[in-house]
Point group: C2
Chain length 310, copies 2
């Protein structure tokens, strides 16, 4: 691979459950172009398929037919494109690079990175994609112990010792918010506004952390608060979000969880980052923000360099 500095050396793809992001990158890791769409695994599995979606985006950017592609995320799941397995924790993040699987039957060199698995029978857990964010952020994190909070559909709380993931736990926060908001009785309470009352959000976080066992009672109280006190939709929405995020933080702070008193490394982008930052501030938990978008791209760049050394 002898390419000039301004020519693409590879493409990197973060292929999640509901989102697709592709970057065209130089050898040095500079971004030449990018594409984003909602053609996540769910859509790719159901509809036109993984190869077609990838090809359409590469063609739109005029990428060469032999440009290699490195992929992380749900494309490597059993119900994804090609199953890329899991590296068992505790594991060095670099072990992810060694587990990359080549997509068979494609002329182009396409590799999918594996996820991580916690195989402790009492705490089975899996991740796909977040390991690549961590890989991209190891230089930032540095040596020593860390606790990474990685919010999303399935939020991850990850304990690291330097570049070794020692354990992690997933909380179904984002997905629960979605199914409860759309399919439960609370849909009535949330209808009519997409806004969030941040005072109600902070109060809900505090209540869930104070009495996590009451979580499903706090959820019903959202409906009762609307019926009896006329709570508007932006208050109800904030209470739902705050209850679930508070419950997550309470769980991750518990004895058997990822208990940690130091500075939390919060991996976020956009609006979700504001909510978690507000929740952690409300609870007086120190944190610093790492941009999740940058981290996953940096992780994919690091993987590409290991897979295709210059």
């Amino acid at each position: 691979m002898t390419k000039t500095d301004r020519r693409p050396a590879f493409a990197a793809v973060d292929w999640g459950t509901s989102s697709f992001r592709l970057w065209l990158l130089t050898e040095a890791g500079a971004v030449l172009d990018e594409r984003r769409s909602n053609e996540g695994m769910a859509m790719a599995s159901a509809a036109c398929g993984f190869p077609k979606i990838l090809k359409s985006h590469l063609s739109a950017l005029g990428a060469a037919d032999d440009l290699p592609v490195v992929i992380c995320g749900m494309a490597g799941a059993r119900q994804g494109w090609v199953e890329a397995g899991y590296v068992t924790v505790p594991a060095l993040l670099d072990a992810v690079l060694e587990g990359a699987v080549r997509v068979p039957g494609e002329a182009r060199d396409i590799r999918i990175l594996p996820g991580l698995a916690n195989r402790d029978p009492a705490h089975p857990d899996v991740m796909r994609g977040e390991e690549t964010q961590l890989l991209g952020a190891t230089a930032d994190l540095g040596s020593g112990e860390h606790l990474a909070c990685m919010p999303g559909t399935h939020s991850k709380w990850v304990r690291l010792e330097g570049s070794t993931v020692t354990r992690f736990s997933t909380y179904m926060t984002g997905e629960l918010f979605d199914v409860i908001a759309r399919h439960s009785l609370l849909a009535h309470s949330l209808a009519g506004s997409d806004g969030m009352d941040m005072a109600a959000f902070r109060a809900a976080v505090q209540m869930a952390v104070a009495e996590p066992a009451r979580a499903t009672n706090l959820l019903f109280a959202i409906r009762a608060g609307q019926l009896l006190q006329g709570a508007p939709a932006d208050v109800s929405r904030a209470r739902l979000s705050g209850t679930l995020i508070g419950l997550e933080i309470a769980g991750a702070s518990g004895a058997a969880g990822e208990a940690w008193n130091g500075t939390i490394s919060l991996f976020v982008s956009g609006k979700l980052g504001e909510l978690y930052a507000t929740a952690l501030e409300t609870l007086n938990r120190p944190f610093r923000v790492t941009d999740a978008d940058h981290a996953v791209r940096d992780g994919l760049i690091r993987a590409a360099r290991a897979l295709w050394p210059a």
Copy 2:
């Protein structure tokens, strides 16, 4: 009203969100006939309406045009037939009888009983239908303090002092089971079996009670247990049910909840009763079972006698 012992004196209806039950009763409260259907509030609001459904069942049983009808449950909700309001707790259960609302524009005397509301701004809560079960069971319960556990779509835990409801809390257990089983990632893990592995159920109850803050992590672990350990659908289903029921019991046992060390009065019928009985046994919590079907009928009979004294 002068009727012989074998002629109907009134009809009693328990009209819930998703179920309709009607009994034809003598003055003495003997059941002459009954009807059950899935024409609950949801269906009645959406489709053919409350008067038509009620009339069809009464006609099918050959009830006289002037037979009075007493109704409890969601038919009295704002989105029901006629709003019957709430009696504010603490309240004597007899106050429900005084709050019955007559359905206007109907030749027949039809009364809908109100629900109960907890208007404490920190713990807003509502019930419709369970108050009538409690009314029917007061003789059984007797004087002194009680804690009633009333499982369902929205499980109620009710503290009573004799016939006075002092407070109550609702847990969204049944509805969460339903929306998570049908609409979340866990639908994959539950597909293929309707069974429940009771050992897995008991273990899940214990884990949720031991670490309620980890509830949404325990939910994700159901999926991870399927992926990594090949957990079958009946184990996954049992874990989902056990986690949610365990979380409910943990919440209702908490300091700010309906804390209680005595014998719990469990109001149940059918399969759900077995699950709660198993959960309480697993946790060594003493309980005694009251048949919820009989209790609601007895409560309606008591209301009818108060509304239309012989």
